[in-house]
């Protein structure tokens, strides 16, 4: 098992490389974004079809956390912190 450090809204978090980012975000959450109407959302389908788990990964917006494997040094921004809906 490879422990790596990633950054979620600027905070360093130790995580296991290769596991889905969505699982880690769920542990930190379970909310991981806000909708246009301001409602919190988290993982729902866990398999890439509902698009409820969208976060920004290394500057690329709207990535599905549930389908993104954790990599060392990854930077995640959520719409929870910024207040901008995604």
């Amino acid at each position: 098992m490879t422990e790596v450090t990633i950054f979620v809204d600027g905070v360093a978090v130790v995580a296991e490389a290769g596991r889905p980012l969505g699982a880690l975000m769920h542990r930190l959450g379970p909310a991981m974004r806000r909708t246009r109407e301001g409602a919190p959302r988290g993982l729902f389908c866990g398999m890439g079809v509902c698009f409820d788990c969208l976060v920004t990964v290394d500057g690329v917006a709207d990535r599905r956390a549930c389908m993104t494997p954790i990599r060392d040094g990854m930077r995640i921004e959520t719409s929870l912190a910024s207040g901008n809906p995604s």
């Binding site: 880690l24 993982l43 729902f44 698009f51 409820d52 494997p69």
Partner: protein, 463 residues
């Protein structure tokens, strides 16, 4: 741009797709397989991304993946198909950008997703599908919560209970709409080979301290996340008796689902014929039981996309489709005809069991009516039941009409999540059937892709 010419392109790396690829490559065809997952295996043969094969299912899967590689199958993982054109051109996208496949035949083995219906509170963080719970536990070694409620119907709930127990996260509450115990025993008596599996699944359900049969979850309560659930019994007439509802506090994860629905967007895009059967998950792609061929020449389908039946039929139908697709291209080997005949028989029996199980555990009638007027039905566009009902009152009776009026189904998920519910709401409100209400026709791109990927992929290509 990467361009791959191949004999057979298999879409989906679950039991159906891997079996198809192994069979076709074994017959001598050049086979490429694309799968959205970080590793092949699909749902039943899911691979732990860190620890390797940690269960019997995963071990079977890793054997199948090794056989596919040994047979020469080129596996493209982390690649999603987002467009397909009749004539064999298929576009996928992975971390490196677009790949265009030009294939002589296609086997679609895209599997299934949890079937869900809206209810008050279902958008709260912590409310998920049972499949999401399964994947959190298997791929993420993460418990969905500390006090988990598992709800809905069908044998998959028991499988999820077993997986959660394996990571020390046994659910606190199991809420199951069905009570068909006698019918289940009758079915097992006709398929004795499945008894051992059934016994271990029932043991997993029994380990849950609070097991309510004949009940449904009617509401999830909480502010920023789920904190409690409301459950209610189903009366003799099959209606949910909300007057006798009960609130259960201290729940921080709710996994609720009603079996699976076939993932038909690719077969629909390829204009294959589809049919509707609520017991098979709703709309499914029609495939010949003796070859796996769909109504479109050169397009085969296998596994759950051809109707929910489970992993065994998925494997058998995959092998059958792979052999048939290869044979149709001239890759015949000695004894192939005999093998195909045996597969057709085994598949018919395995499907019969799966379908009977589906008929024993349907979602209760009126399940889409748990949503109130102000409950969001379309999660992407945040469209409420009231808005959809108003559109239906204006004149449309179809899922596609409700989408034009209200945007329900127009968001990123293309109606994959709300589609079953919108069809049932349309049926209840306008007196048609869910089948007559239809489904959302898929749109390109099937999965969102960056514009530069679309431009790169379509520049200089046929359509």
């Amino acid at each position: 741009m990467r361009r791959v010419e191949t004999d057979i392109l298999v879409v989906g790396g679950g039991p159906a797709g891997l079996s198809a690829a192994i069979a076709a490559a074994g017959a001598g065809a050049r086979v490429d397989l694309v799968d959205a997952g970080a590793a092949p295996g699909g749902q039943y043969w899911m691979q732990d991304p860190v620890a390797g094969a940690t269960s019997q299912q995963a071990a079977e899967g890793s054997t199948a993946i090794a056989s596919a590689r040994a047979a020469g199958v080129a596996i493209h993982s982390g690649a999603e198909v987002w467009a397909a054109f009749p004539g064999g051109e298929i576009m996928a996208n992975d971390a490196e950008g677009p790949i265009t496949f030009q294939a002589r035949s296609i086997v679609v083995a895209s599997g299934a997703q949890d079937r869900v219906y809206p209810f008050p509170g279902w958008t709260l963080p912590g409310v998920m599908t049972p499949g999401a719970g399964q994947r959190l536990a298997k791929l993420g070694k993460t418990a969905p919560g500390r006090r988990i409620a598992l709800a809905g119907n069908g044998p998959f709930l028991y499988a999820v209970a077993a997986t959660l127990a394996s990571i020390d996260a046994t659910p606190a509450l199991l809420v199951e709409s069905g009570r068909a115990r006698a019918a289940m025993l009758g079915l097992l008596a006709r398929h004795p080979a499945r008894i051992a599996e059934a016994v271990s699944l029932i043991a997993a359900a029994r380990a849950v301290p609070d097991w309510r049969r004949g009940h449904v979850v009617t509401e999830a309560l909480g502010e920023e996340r789920v904190e409690a659930v409301r459950i209610a019994p189903i009366d003799e007439r099959g209606t949910v008796d909300t007057a006798r509802s009960e609130r259960i506090d201290g729940i921080d994860a709710l996994l609720v689902g009603w079996g699976f629905r076939p993932m038909i967007e690719l077969t629909a895009l390829l204009r294959c014929r589809h049919a509707y059967d609520r017991a098979l998950g709703g709309w499914y792609c029609v495939a010949s039981p003796s070859t796996g061929l769909t109504s479109v020449e050169g397009v085969y389908a296998a596994g759950e996309v051809t109707g929910i039946a489970g992993s065994r039929p998925a494997r058998l139908s995959g092998t059958l489709a792979g052999l048939s697709a290869a044979a149709a291209l001239g890759f015949e080997s000695a004894g192939m005809e005999e093998r195909r005949k045996g597969l057709v028989r085994a598949l018919a029996s395995a499907r019969a069991f799966g379908h009977a199980l589906g008929r024993l555990a349907p979602p209760p009638d009126g399940i889409a009516d748990l949503a109130r007027d102000d409950t969001i039905v379309c999660r992407c566009e945040e469209v409420t039941r009231g808005e959809i009902v108003a559109a239906l009152a204006e004149g449309t009776r179809a899922v596609a009409g409700a989408k034009m009026w209200t945007r329900a189904g127009m968001g990123r998920c293309q109606g994959r999540i709300c589609g079953s519910a919108v069809a049932e709401i349309a049926a209840a409100e306008t007196g048609t059937s869910p089948a007559a209400a239809g489904f959302n026709p898929p749109r390109i791109p099937l999965r969102p892709v960056p514009l530069d990927v679309i431009l790169e992929a379509t520049r200089g290509s046929a359509p």
